[in-house]
């Protein structure tokens, strides 16, 4: 059974050694939490009034826009790379 001290040590140890993150396609998913944070903070300072539903809607819109733009950029870069390198 894990007592609270061990749990605390386990959590703190997580900040002392890096995680194992491979250079795989799955690694790209790690961008999602950062995009969410950017969308939340940006909308928190830009909206006139903070109401839960409208705030959530605005955050989702911005999150989606950033994501779509990044996907389009990736596709364009891939096409250019294929055209140049082959």
């Amino acid at each position: 059974m894990i007592n609270s001290l061990n749990l605390c040590q386990y959590v703190l140890a997580g900040f002392m050694s890096p995680m194992d993150i491979g250079t795989t396609a799955k690694g790209l998913l790690l961008a999602l939490p950062l995009i969410a944070v950017i969308a939340i903070v940006y909308k928190a300072i830009k909206l006139e009034e903070i109401k839960f539903v409208s705030f959530l809607k605005e955050v989702f819109l911005l999150f989606g826009s950033i994501l779509v733009f990044m996907i389009i950029t990736a596709i364009v870069l891939f096409v250019i790379m294929k055209a140049v390198v082959g």
């Binding site: 995680m19 950062l34 903070v41 940006y42 300072i45």
Partner: protein, 135 residues
């Protein structure tokens, strides 16, 4: 000549703006809390703290390295980051490489730059409030 003060705080307007900026730097969201926007303050605090903690979770506190340019962006989170840099560099001599370090630097650096955006916004809103109260 009438002294210009910032609303209920009674502080001179420039000192109030300075206080809002410094508070926002020390604790993300504190600037917004000072100008009476507690909801935004909470959202900013938890979002920036989440991004920062996730960054050092990915790459360990070794991602806070005073010898890299990322350090200046990370310092925008809070001056407490300097203590983490001291811990990782001088006390524990930690190292982090590759993808985890990259992710950690990006997360903590962007969290810091988002906090700068919030500081500037809080100071600007405080300034607008001052002008409104004086007119």
């Amino acid at each position: 000549m009438k002294e210009i003060t910032a609303g209920k705080s009674g502080l001179p307007a420039v000192a109030y703006l300075f206080l809002v900026g410094i508070a926002g730097w020390w604790i993300p969201g504190a600037g917004h809390w000072l100008i009476g926007r507690p909801k935004r303050a909470a959202i900013i605090f938890f979002s920036i703290a989440f991004a920062f903690v996730l960054g050092i979770w990915f790459g360990s506190i070794a991602v806070i390295d005073a010898s890299t340019p990322w350090y200046w962006a990370q310092m925008l989170n809070s001056p407490a980051v300097a203590y983490l840099a001291h811990l990782s560099g001088s006390v524990y001599h930690l190292e982090s490489y590759g993808k985890p370090r990259e992710m950690g630097e990006i997360y903590t650096g962007i969290a810091g730059m988002l906090n700068l955006l919030c500081i500037v916004n809080a100071v600007y809103v405080a300034h607008c409030k001052n002008i409104k109260e004086q007119s």
